[in-house]
């Protein structure tokens, strides 16, 4: 079968610093995107003259504007995966597909984010009503007009992504007996990793008492189950594997990437919830996981480090099930047994501290961490790491997963 397996590689990573919400001012989303792109090209030993494509997600930037600003000689590819952060590593697969079919040579994938007068999830800064009005086809980052379906949910008090993800979490707890103590282990493990990562925005220690003394935002989610609001930009450069081997950095091969999910998962989390019973208490990742593993020719036991999208702590626990690290329904005991801990666990998860404790640039920080792990330069380096799993979502479709590996 013709696939993208190992045909392309990530050759450059560039970022701004990570900021707490609003603190990137007077930078802008455009200026941070440009900074990250130039840094990523430089990391690879390339220049703007080499760049000829954009494969982004969640419409993170306008390639027309960035192309003009940086003087890109010719753009040959400009796509975004639809919906929100769920598509983040799917964008790597789209880049690889474009390059493997000769439609572009050097593609950037990026997220740039500044939360001054907007806040993700459309929360309190004037956006609450906007979130409430969202209907199928909308995204948490903005809506367009009021659809007839909106009135069916606008007055129900479910106003933010956290309110939505709590529904999945409650159902998982009901079906499998998952506990808050087990979910806490995700938050604590991520925080321990952040404490030894100099760029983490939340490095301060977190104890189980801190976790249980924290205010409940909305049951069963407490303050430390939520990610943070942050600003910054992260860009990565993908090119063909042959060219990658001539460049400055050790290539990180894109062994597989898949985006999508079950059709009836649909916009699942955002004002929908008609998800079939067998999919409801999942991360929505199961179909994507299967395709991705098949494409890469590896399974969960081959993965050395997992960077799992963690906007909410329990979603890590559920992804561990859907990516086959433990049986369905056993994510709780699996994390409680210490399996995801850096240094001692069977599958170290979010070694950088994740979205929960490092920064939340809508998933791209996980791609950066995967690349650094496979280059051997991570702050919390997994010894001998050769295969990394990176995911985007759960969210409205598409969700995505990628297997990256060292070029050995």
């Amino acid at each position: 079968m013709n696939t993208i397996r190992d045909k392309c590689a990530i050759v450059g990573v560039g970022t701004t610093e990570y900021y707490k919400r609003g603190q990137s001012y007077p930078e802008t989303e455009l200026s941070m995107a440009c900074t990250a792109i130039l840094a990523a090209l430089d990391d690879a030993g390339l220049t703007i003259d080499d760049l000829d494509g954009f494969s982004i997600y969640s419409s993170s930037c306008d390639p027309a504007t960035v192309g003009a600003e940086l003087g890109v000689p010719e753009i040959r590819w400009a796509t975004t995966t639809t919906s929100g952060g769920g598509g983040c590593v799917g964008a790597l697969g789209v880049a690889a597909a474009a390059i493997a079919t000769g439609q572009a040579t050097t593609i950037v994938s990026l997220m740039t984010l500044q939360q001054l007068n907007k806040r993700l999830g459309g929360s309190a800064v004037g956006g609450m009503l906007q979130y409430a009005m969202m209907s199928e086809g909308g995204s948490p980052y903005g809506g367009s007009g009021i659809a007839p379906s909106a009135a069916f949910t606008a007055n129900n008090g479910l106003l933010s992504p956290g309110h939505s993800f709590a529904q999945i979490t409650s159902r998982h707890m009901h079906l499998y007996g998952t506990t808050r103590e087990q979910i806490a282990e995700v938050a604590l493990s991520s925080r321990r990793n952040a404490s030894t990562n100099p760029r983490a925005l939340r490095p301060e220690p977190l104890t189980i008492d801190d976790y249980f003394n924290a205010r409940m935002i909305n049951d069963p989610l407490c303050l430390f189950d939520y990610t943070m609001e942050s600003d910054g930009a992260v860009a990565v450069i993908t090119t063909s594997v042959e060219r990658a081997r001539t460049l400055r950095q050790p290539p990180v091969l894109i062994s597989a990437a898949s985006h999508g999910g079950a059709g009836r998962w649909g916009p699942a989390l955002f004002k929908y919830f008609q998800t079939p019973d067998e999919h409801f208490a999942t991360s929505g990742h199961r179909p994507v996981a299967q395709r991705m593993y098949e494409m890469a020719g590896v399974g969960p036991s081959d993965v050395d480090v997992a960077l799992l999208y963690d906007h909410f702590a329990p979603m890590v626990l559920i992804q561990l099930e859907d990516y086959g690290f433990c049986p369905i329904g056993e994510g709780g005991p699996f994390v409680a047994d210490g399996n995801i801990r850096y240094g001692t666990g069977s599958i170290p998860v979010n070694t950088h501290g994740g979205n929960l404790s490092e920064a939340y640039i809508i998933g791209m920080t996980h791609v950066r961490e995967a690349v650094e792990q496979l280059r051997g330069t991570a702050a919390n380096q997994v010894e001998g790491a050769e295969v990394a799993l990176v995911t985007g979502g759960p969210a409205g479709l598409p969700v995505s997963g990628a297997i990256l590996r060292k070029d050995v």
């Binding site: 007839p148 009135a151 529904q167 999945i168 008609q274 409801f280």
Partner: protein, 152 residues
């Protein structure tokens, strides 16, 4: 605390959208709601119920449909207890319970409602609890659906 939301009752999320923005497909729901009746779109091709109203049946792709009256009762499928107000002016309605209710008389997925569940103790409410619909008649157009424990 005075705010833009009018007087608030603990546990009751206020109506914030006063117009239904209904099209032909959605209007039968709101017409029935005025009479305190719950109707649900029903595929006349294969019998599947779906909510909210939409153009196509997800099972058989038929556009043919009618609206069937449901008993208005259901079961809590999942929920959250919102304790921290997303907007400071909403403090007086917290904590409130909102979640997914599976509707009696339908066939599982495809006919759930996402609603504020009132008159429940946020510390003891649980998945599987039985509830019934109650409409707040806001104006000539909007009747906000909520669910509450079955009283009778």
């Amino acid at each position: 605390m005075a705010g833009d939301f009018g007087p608030l009752t603990k546990g009751v999320f206020p109506t914030i959208l006063f117009e239904t923005h209904a099209d032909e497909m959605a209007q039968p729901f709101w017409d029935a709601a005025k009479d305190d009746r719950l109707v649900c779109q029903h595929c006349t091709g294969c019998g599947t119920f779906r909510m909210p109203p939409s153009p196509f049946c997800f099972k058989c792709q038929s556009r043919d449909h009618d609206f069937r009256e449901l008993p208005g009762t259901g079961t809590i499928y999942s929920f959250t207890v919102v304790r921290h107000p997303l907007h400071p002016d909403l403090i007086d309605c917290c904590p409130y319970v909102s979640g997914v209710v599976e509707l009696d008389g339908t066939q599982g997925a495809g006919a759930r409602m996402l609603v504020n569940i009132i008159d429940v103790d946020p510390d003891t409410v649980k998945i599987g609890d039985r509830v019934e619909i109650v409409f707040e008649h806001v104006n000539d157009e909007m009747s906000t659906p909520r669910f509450r424990p079955i009283t009778s």
